[in-house]
Symmetry: C2
Subunit: 69 residues, 2 copies
């Protein structure tokens, strides 16, 4: 199990959080996702080999930008 | 046919617009809904007897507040 933190820009409300959560939850190996539009923080917990690139791409698919914290 | 304008507070993004559009579209008699989170303006077009109270309640169901413009 590994937990990785990201900073996401562009989220303004709970709907934005839900979009990010939905996309990132679909990344292989991801087990839990916490995200806050207030802090911009995204916390991803899952298998040790969850792909950072896949998480970043998932955030982009949701319409936002992220980088590793 | 009648067109009525409302001011909506609290929308921050396109997801918010979509939530308002979805709820207001379900009000009996409503035929088209335009909404902008940037201006807060909601324009409802439909039958002459569309209920203002029902539109206001629909906006509230979506999680926002509105008043007649």
């Amino acid at each position: 199990m590994a937990t990785t933190e990201y900073n996401v820009t562009g989220m303004t409300c709970g709907h934005c959080e839900a979009s990010v959560r939905e996309e990132v939850s679909e990344v292989p190996g991801v087990e839990s996702v916490e995200v806050s539009h207030e802090t911009g923080r995204l916390t991803v917990t899952g298998a040790d080999d969850v792909s950072t690139d896949a998480v970043l791409a998932a955030v982009e698919d949701a319409g936002y930008r992220a980088q590793r914290a």
